[in-house]
C-alpha cells in the first residue's frame, strides 16, 4: 500500500477525517473505520452489497476511489435507515414485507431503495425492478424487496398528496 493521505468527508451526517491510501476504494475506507454495515460481496462492482449514497446518488463503494470522496457526503444503510421518513419507513417496510432473509444484500438494497424513493420514486414495480437490478440477492428472489419499496413509494405518495404537495 502506498503512503496514506487524509480524506475529509461527511459520513451519515458527521464530519470525519480518515486516512486512505491513493489506490484504496471507498468500501475499504469505510469498513476499516467501523462502518461495517457496508458489505463486501465481490469488490469487483458485480454484486451491489457495498452500495452507499455519495452526494445523494447510490453508487458501488468498491469501485469508487476513496480519495475522490474528499469533501463529499456519504450515507450508509445504518445512516439512511435512521433518517426521518423515507429511510425509516423503508426500513420498517423491509421488515413488514419480508424483504430480507440472510440480510447480507439488505444494506445495499436499502440504500438503492432510498435513492429510488428520493429521486421521485413512483410506485411502479417495473421501475423498481430496474432500479435494484445492480443489487444481487440469492435468498429472496427479489419479489418481496420490490414489494417493500413499492409500498413505501405508495405511502410516501399518499402523504405528499395528503399535504397538498402535488
Amino acid at each position: 500500500m502506498s503512503e496514506k493521505v487524509a480524506v475529509s468527508l461527511k459520513i451519515n451526517g458527521k464530519e470525519v477525517t480518515l486516512l486512505a491510501a491513493p489506490e484504496q476504494n471507498l468500501l475499504r475506507l469505510l469498513r476499516e473505520n467501523g462502518y461495517v454495515e457496508v458489505k463486501c460481496g465481490c469488490e469487483e462492482g458485480d454484486c451491489g452489497t457495498c452500495t452507499v449514497l455519495l452526494d445523494g446518488l447510490s453508487v458501488k463503494s468498491c469501485v469508487t476511489p476513496a480519495c475522490a470522496c474528499e469533501g463529499r457526503e456519504v450515507w450508509t444503510a445504518a445512516g439512511v435507515s435512521r433518517q426521518e421518513r423515507i429511510g425509516r419507513l423503508l426500513r420498517d417496510n423491509f421488515a413488514k414485507y419480508g424483504a430480507s432473509q440472510c440480510g447480507f444484500c439488505t444494506p445495499g438494497m436499502m440504500v438503492t431503495g432510498v435513492n429510488y424513493l428520493m429521486n421521485n420514486g413512483v410506485p411502479d414495480r417495473q421501475a423498481i425492478r430496474a432500479a435494484i437490478s445492480g443489487n444481487l440477492c440469492r435468498c429472496t428472489g427479489y419479489k418481496k424487496i420490490i414489494d417493500a419499496i413499492y409500498h413505501t413509494a405508495q405511502e410516501l405518495r399518499r402523504e405528499t398528496a395528503g399535504e397538498g404537495m402535488l
Binding site: M1, P22, G45, V59, P65, C67, A68, A130
Partner: protein, 290 residues
C-alpha cells in the same frame, strides 16, 4: 514508488498534471473500470489524475445542430436527458442498458470510451452518429473522429498528456441501439449495435450508418451492410442481403461469454432489428429473422 492520487481542480490543472506525469498518469473519474482492474492487480503503479470534481466537464447541450456531451457526464445523466431521448435515441437507449443504475451514477462517457473495451456500450451510437472526440492538451486541443479514436483492445489514439474533454455528434432521431448480453442487467455486451438512418420521403434510406461492438478489437462500422441498404427501402429482401454482408464487416472471437458463431448469428439478427427500430418499423411485420 506506490500509487499517487491527485485531484485536478480545473481542466488546465488536469492537463498540466498529465503533462508532468506523462506515461505514469492515468485519468480517473467514475472509477468503475479502473478500480476493478486495480483489485484484480492488472493496473501497475501509476499517478491517478482525478477529474471527478470538474463540473465544467459535466454537460449535455446542443450547439449549432451538434449535441455536445462533456467527458465527465455520467451515464445516468444521459439516461435522463430529454434532449437525447428526442434527438439521439441510439445513445439514450445505450445509456438505459449500460451495466446497472448504481454503476451509471458513477460511470462517465469519457471513461467508457477511454477504457476502449471492444464491447463498450456508448461506442456504437457515437460511431453511428459519426461523432468526434474533443481532445485537449496543455498547448491546445484537437478534434478526432470517433472512428479513429479506438485503435485496439483497451487502446486509443490518445497521446500521453492528452485528455478527452467532450464528445460531439450530429444527432439523428431516426436512430436506435440494441444490446445482447447473457442476462438483462450487469451484462457485458456479447453483441451491441447502433443504427442511424436518413429516411427520404418515399421511405428509402438516403444514408445509413451501422456500428457494431464486441465483434472486433474495436467497435466497427458495418460498411458492407450499409452499402446494401443505402438508397433502398428497408424491405425484408434488402435487409436479408445486408445481413449476409455484415458477416464481412465483423471478426468476432470465441471467449468465455460466447462463441464466434453465436456472435455472427446474433450480429446479423440484431442488425435487422436495429435498422427496423431506427426506421420505426414494427419488427414482426417484417417476418422472422434468420
Amino acid at each position: 514508488m506506490g500509487y499517487q492520487f491527485i485531484t485536478a481542480d480545473s481542466v488546465p490543472h488536469a492537463l498540466e498534471l498529465l503533462e508532468r506525469y506523462g506515461r505514469d498518469a492515468r485519468v480517473i473519474c467514475g472509477g468503475t473500470d479502473l478500480m476493478v482492474r486495480l483489485h484484480l492487480k492488472r493496473l501497475p503503479e501509476c499517478v491517478f489524475i482525478n477529474i471527478r470534481n470538474l463540473e465544467e466537464l459535466r454537460y449535455i447541450r446542443e450547439e449549432d445542430g451538434m449535441v455536445c456531451i462533456g467527458a465527465g457526464t455520467t451515464l445516468s445523466t444521459l439516461e435522463n436527458s430529454l434532449l437525447l431521448l428526442g434527438k439521439a435515441p441510439a445513445l439514450f437507449q445505450a445509456a438505459q442498458v449500460f451495466a446497472d443504475p448504481n454503476v451509471r451514477h458513477s460511470a462517465t462517457v469519457g471513461g467508457n470510451i477511454g477504457n476502449a473495451s471492444p464491447s463498450a456500450d456508448s461506442a456504437p451510437p457515437l460511431l453511428a452518429f459519426d461523432g468526434q472526440v474533443v481532445v485537449a492538451r496543455k498547448d491546445g486541443r484537437r478534434l478526432l473522429p470517433i472512428r479513429e479514436f479506438f485503435t485496439g483492445v483497451g487502446r486509443t489514439a490518445l497521446e500521453p498528456g492528452e485528455l478527452v474533454t467532450e464528445v460531439r455528434f450530429k444527432p439523428n432521431p431516426d436512430s436506435a441501439f440494441v444490446k445482447v448480453g447473457l442476462r438483462n442487467a450487469m451484462a457485458i455486451s456479447v453483441v451491441n449495435i447502433a443504427a442511424s438512418v436518413d429516411l427520404a420521403q418515399d421511405g428509402t434510406m438516403k444514408d445509413v450508418r451501422i456500428a457494431v461492438g464486441a465483434v472486433a478489437p474495436t467497435p466497427v462500422r458495418a460498411v458492407c451492410a450499409e452499402n446494401c441498404l443505402r438508397g433502398r427501402r428497408p424491405e425484408e429482401a434488402v435487409i436479408r442481403q445486408a445481413m449476409d454482408a455484415i458477416q464481412t464487416d465483423i471478426k468476432p472471437i470465441t471467449d468465455v461469454r460466447a462463441s464466434e458463431r453465436y456472435r455472427r448469428i446474433v450480429a446479423e439478427n440484431m442488425m435487422r432489428r436495429v435498422v427496423l427500430k431506427a426506421c420505426r418499423i414494427c419488427e414482426n411485420e417484417g417476418g422472422a429473422g434468420r
